[in-house]
Symmetry: C2
Subunit: 153 residues, 2 copies
DNA sequence: TCGTTCATGTCAGCATTTTGACATGCTCGT
DNA sequence: ACGAGCATGTCAAAATGCTGACATGAACGA
């Protein structure tokens, strides 16, 4: 009938394990397991580590800010913050000066603990980078960013 | 002192949100949310959909097989299978013929339900593919595969 | 043949996360 | 000034997932 139309423009592979979504999940699960393993030795969970990194970059973030940035609910973010606070790695004012948001900040021990952990985490990232052609790393970053923004709407 | 050594060979960016791990998490979270949204209209969860896809590709997989393939524990995989069984989408023999493993298979309704859902899921994958330069899609697949295998040991 | 080892299915208990709801405090337009 | 809309923090309940443990069956070597 219509010969100008290519037969299958972008049909996904039959094998689900070759879909983008499945490989995304697989890579993320492997990374999560690797991170858990190295962070456990330092007494930190993955969300706790992510929170420390974010607070080092943007001091004064609120619980809601951090929850959004770590892809959890505010409630879950709150227990993470409480854990870090009990460990003496962050501080939050008992009362909010402006709104209801209480800005969190790293303590001195929080900074040093983060610096220690960063070495081992960077080793994990290095294992990923070493598995890829050097040029592909930056391309991968932009691709992942595009996928995320495209799906987030 | 040693001028032949490049100053910072592969230092990760200061901004955590530009790390491979963070973008991997972000993309996967966005995909998970998008999948949840479209699957909810068909009464399926993401693990349930993944199980149907795997059973369509490899009929007779056991609970332990499926659990490994969907990155959950055997216990969690069991509740997924039980849900699919109660929905009439899969069948499992009441007794194992060989070992303890009871091979699961799609029912007729399971096949048709999967075919229906696949259309909407493929639309989501299309949104991802459209956000990328066409050449990058296959490159992304191999990169994610390499990352996963590198971290899984 | 027998004992060790391993994988599977399943139970119970625990931890984590989410959903739903509510009160508080800012912001902005009227 | 004030009321609607919105964001934040927090509580309680439910759902979800995992850890630990155990019994069963197969595979393999001594």
């Amino acid at each position: 009938m219509n010969e100008s139309v290519p037969p299958e423009p972008s049909r996904p592979a039959n094998d689900v394990t070759q879909h983008v979504g499945y490989l995304l999940k697989r890579a993320q699960a492997a990374l999560r397991a690797a991170m858990d393993k190295v962070l456990r030795e330092h007494g930190l969970t993955v969300p706790q580590y992510a929170t420390l990194e974010l607070l080092a970059l943007h001091p004064g973030m609120s619980n809601a800010d951090l929850a959004r940035a770590t892809f959890v609910t505010r409630q879950s973010g709150n227990v993470v913050l409480r854990g870090l606070q009990e460990a003496g790695l962050i501080t939050r004012p008992a009362t909010a000066d402006h709104g209801r948001a209480r800005p969190a900040r790293l303590t001195e021990e929080g900074h040093t603990r983060l610096a220690t952990v960063q070495a081992t985490v960077h080793a994990v990232e290095q294992r990923m980078a070493d598995a890829l052609p050097p040029r592909r790393v930056t391309a991968l970053l932009t691709d992942l960013e595009r996928i995320a923004t495209a799906l987030e709407d």
